[in-house]
Assembly symmetry: C2
Homo-oligomer: 138 residues x 2
DNA sequence: CATATTTGTAACCTTTGTAGTTACAAATAG
DNA sequence: CTATTTGTAACTACAAAGGTTACAAATATG
């Protein structure tokens, strides 16, 4: 239903940062993700706006975490990126229809609950967990 | 994150059917949803494949439910449409990287849990509930 | 200061998915 | 037979995403 790899890439990048003492460049993150450095910068900018990471331009620059990995929950990462909700409502149902006129409000409520269900499940994991899981698969 | 109104439209259409004794045509459903009848037929075809509705061509034809509305959970409706999961994984992380090589498996597990959280929340509602909620907003 | 490195960002292209639309065949009721 | 309705292919328009290039601005180092 959805195609937007930014969330997956964000987790990937944050996990790389959690595993590294030194800052990582967009270039090196892009290499592990297998994409273009600009794609990484664009995405990391959202994480930076929410205070999860910091960037430093120039020689020996790059990205680093601003918080311990066990304090970065996946629901928070998700919220850095999610402009809209996962489920979306059709825009202009017929307001003259007794059902069409009311359905949007009902769907908003129900889809909101679904969103909470999704984010609660994500919130049970942190970047530290993910790193641990990755390492356990060695 | 997502744009695909089919789930919302499916719920809308099923609610219309639940509220009607007689079969409804794609035309009349499309009118309440405010879209083209072909869009409705395409979407209803998925619901038919999963045994939720039945269609009859020809004069006095149309769509009707094959099950009582209180026995149609929203999670099931969702599953009729969801080809992919809500959260999607980036396709080709670098397998030579110690993290890139393992991240897909880890994300599959975590995203699967998130999907379950979403569907569980949806599963607490049925088409009968939705119709009731709509009517309560009169 | 000069240079190499790295982020920041705008601009553009391509691909993909979705909704919308037209057209017409096939089925069905009366 | 005729009007109605689904089934489906084919096409268009549009938007979002990822990828790419180009270049300005910032920074560490010698």
């Amino acid at each position: 239903m959805n195609t937007n790899q930014r969330f997956a890439i964000s987790i990937h990048a944050l996990t790389l940062l959690a595993a590294s003492k030194d800052p990582l460049t967009s270039e090196s993150i892009a290499s592990s993700v297998d994409t273009n450095p600009v794609v990484i910068r664009r995405m990391m900018a959202s994480l930076r706006e929410h205070g999860l990471v910091k960037s430093k331009p120039g020689a020996h620059g790059g990205w680093r975490l601003l918080r311990e990995p066990q304090k970065i929950g996946l629901s928070e990462v998700y919220q850095c990126l999610s402009e809209d909700d996962v489920l979306s409502i059709h825009s202009h149902p017929n307001k003259n229809c007794p059902i069409g006129g009311k359905i949007k409000g009902v769907l908003q409520k129900v889809f909101g609950e679904a969103q909470v269900g999704l984010e609660n499940a994500l919130g049970t994991h942190t970047i530290a967990d993910i790193l641990e899981d990755v390492r356990a698969r060695a």
